[in-house]
């Protein structure tokens, strides 16, 4: 005979009514809370490139997008490097989710099928499955909470503690403890219910004869406990009188069953009274929890998946600009940015990944996000006038200036917050107010005046080509296949110039048709934009775009990842493909245009430049080139998307070190390379990296122990050509 889930077992009628009164109240409170928070997102401006939010939402419900959303939102895929966090999150989220879904299913079972139709879904084998699922996930949830407690109170990671923004090891305690109580009271209530079943079974077994057994059941109020129609009551009564179990599925709820055994010694009255009490506690705590979600950091249950769904589809290297003069208060941010700060779970992964933070600079990307979010929460959705400034006491200038805009924070953020964009927006306000670091001011003035940060004459830009025994074409005068946009460091820095020439020789050797903009090239403005000088960026872009439009070329080439990023992602005027030289070298080697004559037997490691790797996903080309020249690559622990910035980005290269800094990011990185056994050479693919790491090798006292070389230099070495033969090449191609 089929059995079903007991409904409202041992719950008096008045309690049932109370429950039904409370459900809508709780749901209304929850909805009101969500509305209260979500409305604040629309204090912000419209998002550039997004016409309307409803349309965006519609577009987001697209199989491809949802396929990308699901792993990140439902399975926290961005936590995968941290297995402990991933498992803990799965346990808590999916424990809660299954228990919630189970409760919801039980409600449907009871209110939508049983009450009107006297029919239950949760019966038979399906009910057994339901029971075991809920018990298992209840245990999973408690284990997950245990992991959280272990991490918060035994491991005590630094990233979960920040006095300034109120992030502390205890911030999640009320919520997590309540979840734990809900789970525990759920099990206890189940156990007490099962224990009562044991008592009933024992009494029924003790009674002689069917009538007596039925009488025992009636005396114990079994029929009242069932809350089902008379016919189905009869079926159950007969089944149990016949020797069936009161709760045949109890064995499928091992935790409840075990607790039932434990509570069995109590009297029936005690069990019933306790059950009612615990049942109430469970219900009230669960209701309270739901109602409080929008008011606590648990709101990320809503905001984080929403943010991941509505995340920008732009490439990471394209900086969105909503307000050129920068962000003063929360209303200057866009709705997407406000959603992002609200989606933040305070987890501090960004802080751990941040090179500035690791080296003792005064920046935690999480604290910046939290400072904005706390101001957002204090701002009424119907704000009259300007909300208070986000600057100075909330977000300090030194925090903003510490950022290398390396995007490590954004890359690692489990909920897709774009910290660098927020930081640049806030920086723009400082620039607008003229509050810039002295070194930065010099660099910006030089950009304004000369189009380069070196304060060098624009006429000297092509001077690096002078020592070459061949001339490079002027792309303004004759058509070329590749227009080489050289960049500042490659053109002006004495240490880099030789490397630039080496790359020119390699390209010459491979017969690549390249030309330059000569003295008309100006800095592409990638870092200027990230400093927050949007007007200056626009000016540089305008000038370069004008020169580019006057030149004839098929593709753009550069050795500088910063230039690469700007040309590729931020120059709308540029339609030609943009190549980083590592990509071109890879192409030339694979296509056979570049033949290597010497295998280099070096053991090397490779530093992924932020703007090549994390921003533009170029990881494989340089590694293939390293393989082709014969080197053995030993990866640093932090490589690929997890690469550690040299500290030069976002204008940092022109700023003074923070007084609190313990080391420079470049020194930290060089130490990482030095720790690798047998590595002789740190290979770079960025002019700024060359400068930064060569300095760092000196300052950490590792001169002679680690060579810093550009990828192009290794290719040149493996060409096995001498300068004399270069001259021959020059002659033969002349």
């Amino acid at each position: 005979m089929e059995y079903a889930r007991p409904i409202m077992w041992n719950v008096p009628h008045w309690a049932e009514i109370a429950l039904y009164v409370m459900i809508p109240i709780v749901l209304a409170a929850f909805a009101a809370g969500v509305y209260w928070r979500a409305r604040k997102w629309f204090l912000g401006r419209s998002e550039p490139g997004v016409e309307s939010v409803p349309r965006l939402l519609l577009a987001a419900i697209h199989p491809g997008r949802l396929a990308r959303w699901t792993p990140a939102a439902l399975f926290q895929s961005r936590l995968s490097p941290d297995l402990f966090a991933l498992v803990m999150h799965w346990a808590i989220l999916w424990g809660m989710a299954v228990l919630f879904l189970g409760t919801a299913l039980a409600t449907i079972d009871q209110d939508f099928t049983n009450l009107p139709f006297d029919f239950q879904l949760l019966r038979g084998k399906f009910y057994c499955l339901f029971e075991i699922a809920l018990d298992v996930f209840g245990v999973v949830l408690i284990l997950g909470l245990g992991m959280a407690a272990y991490r918060r109170y035994l491991v005590r990671p630094k990233r979960l503690q920040a006095t300034r923004t109120g992030v502390s090891l205890w911030d999640g305690f009320p919520f997590l403890a309540t979840i734990a109580l809900v789970a525990v009271t759920g099990f206890v209530a189940e156990g007490l219910r099962i224990a009562e079943g044991f008592h009933i079974e024992a009494r029924v077994a003790a009674a002689e004869g069917l009538d007596a057994k039925i009488r025992v059941l009636d005396e114990m109020g079994f029929r009242e406990h069932l809350h089902v129609g008379r016919e189905r009551q009869d079926v159950q009564v007969n089944r149990i009188a016949d020797g069936g179990r009161v709760f045949p599925a109890a064995i499928w709820a091992p935790v409840g069953y075990g607790l039932g055994k434990a509570f069995e010694p109590l009297s029936v009255d005690a069990i019933r009274a306790l059950h009612q009490g615990v049942w109430w506690a469970h219900g009230l705590l669960a209701f309270g929890l739901i109602a409080c979600i929008p008011l606590t950091k648990a709101f990320h249950l809503i905001s984080s998946p929403a943010n991941i769904l509505l995340h920008s589809a732009d490439p990471p290297g394209r900086l969105a600009v909503a307000v050129e003069s920068g962000v003063t208060n929360v209303r200057d941010l866009t709705w997407r940015q406000l959603l992002q700060v609200d989606a933040c779970t305070w987890c501090g992964k960004c802080q751990e990944a941040c090179p500035a933070n690791q080296c003792g600079f005064p920046l935690s990307p999480r604290d910046v996000v939290q400072a904005v979010d706390s101001q957002l929460l204090r701002t009424p959705a119907k704000a009259n006038g300007e909300p208070p400034s986000l600057h100075d006491s909330r977000v300090r200038p030194e925090e903003l200036w510490a950022c290398c805009s390396c995007r490590a924070c954004e890359e690692i953020c489990p909920v897709f917050v774009q910290h660098p964009r927020l930081i640049v927006d806030l920086r723009r306000h400082l620039v607008d107010q003229g509050q810039v670091d002295e070194g930065l001011q010099d660099a910006l003035m030089n950009f304004q005046r000369y189009g380069n940060s070196f304060g060098q004459s624009p006429r000297k830009r092509p001077d690096w080509t002078k020592p070459l025994d061949f001339t490079l074409k002027d792309a303004r005068k004759e058509e070329v296949e590749y227009l080489w946009f050289v960049g500042d460091y490659a053109s002006y820095d004495q240490r880099v110039q030789e490397v630039t020439r080496t790359i020119a020789r390699v390209l010459r050797h491979a017969g690549v048709d390249v030309g330059l903009l000569m003295e008309k090239e100006q800095n592409a403005g990638n870092d200027v934009r990230r400093i927050g000088e949007e007007g200056l960026f626009a000016m540089l872009r305008e000038k370069n775009a004008k020169e580019l439009s006057g030149a004839r070329f098929r593709k753009l080439l550069t050795t500088d990842p910063h230039t690469y990023n700007a040309l590729k992602n931020e120059y709308d005027e540029v339609v030609a493909p943009v190549l980083h030289y590592t990509q071109l070298l890879d192409e030339l080697l694979r296509g056979g245009a570049l033949r290597l004559h010497r295998k280099l037997d070096y053991v090397v490691t490779y530093h992924d430049p932020c703007y090549l790797g994390r921003f533009n996903g170029v990881y494989d080309a340089p590694r293939r080139v390293l393989g082709a020249v014969g080197t053995r690559l030993v990866e640093m622990p932090r490589h690929g998307p997890n690469s550690f910035c040299c500290g030069a980005g976002g204008g940092r290269i022109w700023m003074k070190d923070a007084p609190t800094s313990q080391e420079r990011p470049a020194e930290n990185r060089v130490r990482e390379a030095l720790a690798l056994p047998g590595v002789q050479c740190l290979v770079v693919a960025c002019p700024k990296d060359l400068v930064m790491f060569q300095d760092a090798v000196k300052t950490v006292g590792a001169e002679g122990r680690l060579r810093v070389a550009d990828l192009g230099e290794l290719v040149y070495e493996s060409l096995g050509i001498t300068l004399k033969s270069m001259a021959e090449v020059a002659e033969s191609t002349a």
Partner: protein
């Protein structure tokens, strides 16, 4: 025709300005061409006390007036004007100092006399003067012909070999016929730099050490040299990073920007970050074993030796010179 040359022997905080002896030497070149005399003018109540150091002049005039006790442009220019009117010199020489930059042009405007700044060489040419002057940040020289008298020349310190103090000049106290006007600009007290660790930005002489110093113990050699030169020791970033000197002594991008009269770079390769902090020094001498070190690009003089060998020799030579 006027033959004499008037030199303002500037007194700053009870001492004659260093440039004074250069002015006297320059004055001698001009005056001797036509048999004129070099007149030194000292302004201030205690002026006579400085006379013994001004032996290179033929005559020493002291204007002893309480209003000249501290510098103020009004009385200074009035006194200069009176003496100039009385002596009718062919040239008035002043140093390119804080006071010189005030009074030279003010006097020139007052008496409508020609003025030349940045003088590095002054040669008489008949009745005129031919002055070589440095301008455009030292990137250009101009040869200027000055016909009128008196020619007011502001001399760049370090342009002339200072005159020896030897000689026996007589002090001529000058009472000015008209009393000095107080003027609208009044001296109101000195503001002295705060005491503390040595402020390397305020030192005239800096002995700067880099990686080439090798060990902390070797800093003593640099300290000894700095002591002999009357300067201070500073360093490039690697030395500071080692904790051998406090961060207040760091020169360069992440440290201080210094503009001393003399910067001795010892064992510093001269990365651009370092150059940024010291390239404004008047005289840079670099010592490094690496002939390719970029520091030699901006140094005026260089030596390719080990700093640890040179340091004791240099300290000894300076002490010997000082006697």
């Amino acid at each position: 025709m006027a033959k004499d040359v008037l030199v303002l022997a500037e007194v700053y905080r009870d001492a004659l300005a260093d440039v004074t002896w250069e002015l006297l030497a320059a004055g001698r070149t001009i005056a001797s061409a036509t048999g004129g005399q070099v007149l030194a003018l000292v302004l201030g109540p205690n002026g006579a006390a400085h006379a013994p150091a001004l032996g290179a002049a033929d005559r020493i005039m002291v204007v002893d007036d309480p209003r000249l006790a501290d510098y103020a442009p009004g009385p200074y220019v009035a006194a200069l004007q009176e003496v100039t009117a009385a002596e009718q010199p062919r040239a008035v020489l002043l140093g390119a100092t804080s006071i010189g930059w005030d009074v030279a042009p003010l006097l020139a405007a007052r008496i409508n006399a020609p003025l030349v700044t940045g003088c590095k060489e002054i040669q008489p040419e008949g009745e005129a003067l031919r002055v070589a002057t440095s301008f455009c940040g030292g990137k250009m020289m101009a040869e200027v012909r000055v016909d009128g008298a008196p020619a007011i020349c502001m001399v760049l310190p370090g342009s002339f070999r200072p005159a020896d103090a030897a000689g026996q000049a007589k002090i001529e106290p000058r009472k000015l016929p008209s009393p000095l006007e107080p003027g609208a600009v009044r001296f109101d007290g000195w503001v002295l730099p705060e005491a503390g660790d040595v402020d390397i930005t305020q030192q005239d002489v800096l002995v700067s050490v880099g990686r080439g110093i090798q060990q902390k113990d070797n800093l003593e050699l640099a300290e000894n040299l700095a002591g002999a030169l009357g300067g201070a020791v500073c360093a490039s970033r690697p030395v500071i990073d080692q904790g051998w000197l406090p961060a207040t002594r760091q020169v360069g991008k992440s440290g201080m920007t210094v503009k001393p009269k003399f910067y001795l770079a010892l064992g510093i390769s001269g990365a651009p970050e370092h150059q940024e902090g010291m390239k404004g020094a008047d005289l840079i001498i670099a010592v490094n074993t690496d002939p390719q070190a970029p520091i030699f690009d901006i140094a005026h003089y260089g030596a390719e030796v080990d700093v640890l060998d040179l340091l004791p020799a240099l300290t000894e030579a300076i002490e010997a010179k000082r006697g």
